[in-house]
């Protein structure tokens, strides 16, 4: 009887094993579907491209999901997406991981984005220098009156660390692009899970300051004009100013593919970079790569 038990247990366990392992196969990579994953900043843009692309060719399906730039590249490494959207460049260790998995990641700039720094509309301030921004977000300035505002404590809002926007803001605003800088976001900065959460909090909190891609700006928040230093002009985050490179906090938005894009993926990227695709970029309030 005891022996029979073991035979039975063994066979059931084996069956489960087969079921579990069998379910792990790759579902994507079908000839007429593309999986796109990554940056939350780019999810609306990716969705708009996908819809237009699918309207032109109803046989294909393009699925776009967010989660953050890091999520996108992690998905590409674990083979569950065809295109990763990133709002920052690949890190050296990510490129190395990709090589270990047997492919060379190809980074393609598909649009530009200005990062808007936003406050509550009732905040009397309308402009700051980059040094002031660095001081505020790293916590060395903690009251609005120190930068010429009213006597209110500053509430810093930031994206979570899985966000490309967080990484970009830290490297280019807090550290001013210097590799040796150790500047960090203040420990008491609130880390919110999405750009929309930051927009909501800024809209109802007069002491808050936050940042996000300029596509999220609405009349419920006020975007600040930013100057490189005290002697430079203050520039508004608008499409013209990002295209002309006058606005100091702007960044490339990337699509990453597994090696050179091929087949349907290549067709999709060609569409994205075409005049038609770049028109959609403008419609979603980002900045086209090719001004024409």
């Amino acid at each position: 009887m005891a022996k029979k038990n073991w035979v039975f247990l063994g066979s059931v366990f084996y069956m489960l094993l087969v079921l579990v392992l069998g379910g792990c196969g790759r579902q994507s990579q079908q000839a007429n579907s593309i999986q796109i994953k990554g940056s939350d900043t780019m999810v609306n843009l990716g969705q708009a491209w996908a819809e237009e692309f699918m309207r032109a060719d109803p046989k294909v399906s393009v699925a776009v999901t967010g989660g953050g730039s890091g999520t996108g590249i992690a998905a590409m490494l674990s083979n569950t997406c065809d295109i990763a959207e990133l709002s920052r460049e690949l890190k050296p260790e990510e490129i190395e991981m990709a090589r270990k998995k047997g492919f060379e990641p190809k980074q393609i700039t598909v649009a530009l984005d200005g990062l808007a720094v936003v406050v509550h509309p009732a905040n009397p301030l309308s402009q700051l220098t980059q040094d002031q921004l660095a001081a505020i977000f790293s916590g060395s300035v903690s009251n609005w009156k120190e930068v010429g505002g009213s006597d209110l404590p500053i509430v810093i809002l930031s994206r979570e660390v899985n966000s490309g926007t967080h990484v970009y803001f830290k490297e280019h605003v807090l550290r001013r692009g210097r590799k040796d800088s150790q500047a960090e976001f203040a420990a008491n900065a609130l880390l919110l899970p999405s750009s929309q959460a930051i927009a909501d909090e800024v809209a109802q909190n007069p002491s808050a300051i936050g940042y996000y891609g300029m596509g999220y700006i609405s009349p419920r928040e006020k975007a600040l004009a930013v100057a490189k230093d005290a002697d430079s002009p203050y520039i508004q985050p608008t499409i013209e100013n990002v295209v002309s490179n006058a606005y100091p906090i702007s960044r490339p938005l990337l699509m990453v593919t597994r090696g050179e894009p091929q087949g349907l993926v290549a067709r999709f990227i060609d569409f994205v970079l075409s005049p038609e695709g770049q028109k959609i970029v403008v419609k979603i309030d980002f900045v086209p790569v090719k001004s024409n």
Binding site: A74, E160, V161, N162, A189, L190, L192
Partner: protein, 290 residues
């Protein structure tokens, strides 16, 4: 006859299997956590990890100090317990001892419905309505605080506490109540001194399971506590919990890197905490059955 025997045998063994598998899965999960998490401690000391005061996981060099996260989780949990335990126990006593039959059924159904609300919805309500209210009421810079998290989580712990405590109270033998009333005790004396006392182990288990639910909750806390990794000195400050940290950062971490390992190590810490809480609850539950 043989068919029937075979059927019996099959049923018996599949039930046995289900039992074994649930234990095997817990063990496998724990082993997996250990395997992924322990690699962190090749480059990092356990002490620095547990009592380090700064959490800057993606900096260079990274700093993995989870003391603010542990304290954040404990503070939110403590607050939630302080709110949900008295209300939950009182509600259970009312439902089991005092409420008329019809009201009792309605209340029970309502509380079970509360358990069915997804945590992200509760989190959303907390963020949109409770947060601004707390900000204005206490006149503090932001409404995303430990207190907001505690109140939100108290809502989620309540159904667990009420339904398990109510079961424990209902299970108190009728003779106890009859004896108390025969001795001249009032309704309140019977309820509080006899019934509540007899049901105490079960009620303690209810509290422990409720707390277990609170400490493991992720989505709602992530939305309402502000997630700032500072060592909190009051309930009116933002905190970052262990669970929210794992959920928020797992997507970014490079698989197999130190950050990834650190998140799994946080998982081990959480596992140990919930294991202890469930262990204590189990101990009391068993005592109550004797």
């Amino acid at each position: 006859m043989r068919v029937r025997k075979l059927k019996e045998w099959l049923i018996e063994k599949s039930i046995l299997l289900s039992g074994i598998f649930s234990i095997v899965f817990v063990l496998l999960i724990f082993l997996f956590l250990l395997r992924e998490g322990l690699s962190l401690f090749r480059g990092e000391s356990v002490i620095d990890f547990l009592i380090g005061k700064s959490w800057y996981p993606i900096s260079d060099p990274p700093r993995f100090g989870i003391l603010p996260l542990i304290l954040g989780s404990l503070l939110v949990t403590l607050g939630a317990a302080a709110i949900s335990v008295p209300i939950g126990i009182a509600a259970a006593l009312y439902i089991a001892e005092i409420a008329p039959l019809r009201l009792r059924e309605a209340l029970k159904a309502g509380i079970e419905l509360l358990a069915a609300i997804p945590s992200v919805v509760i989190g959303f309500i907390g963020m949109i309505t409770l947060g601004p209210w707390i900000k204005n009421f206490f006149n503090i810079p932001t409404g995303l605080t430990a207190l907001t998290g505690s109140v939100t989580l108290a809502f989620m712990a309540m159904p667990t506490i009420v339904s398990i405590a109510e079961d424990a109270i209902t299970a108190v033998p009728r003779q106890y109540r009859e004896a108390a009333i025969a001795m001249g005790a009032t309704k309140w004396q019977t309820t509080w001194r006899i019934v509540a006392r007899a049901a105490r182990p079960g009620m303690l288990a209810a509290v422990m399971l409720g707390i277990g639910r609170v400490i493991g909750e992720t989505m709602a806390v992530m939305m309402v506590t502000g997630n700032a990794a500072i060592i909190p000195s009051s309930f009116l400050q933002p905190v970052r919990t262990l669970t929210a940290t794992i959920a928020a950062e797992m997507g970014e971490s490079v698989q197999g890197g130190p950050h990834y390992a650190a998140l799994f190590a946080i998982g081990i810490v959480l596992f140990v905490i919930t294991f202890l809480i469930n262990g204590v609850a189990d101990l009391y539950l068993h005592r109550s059955r004797r």
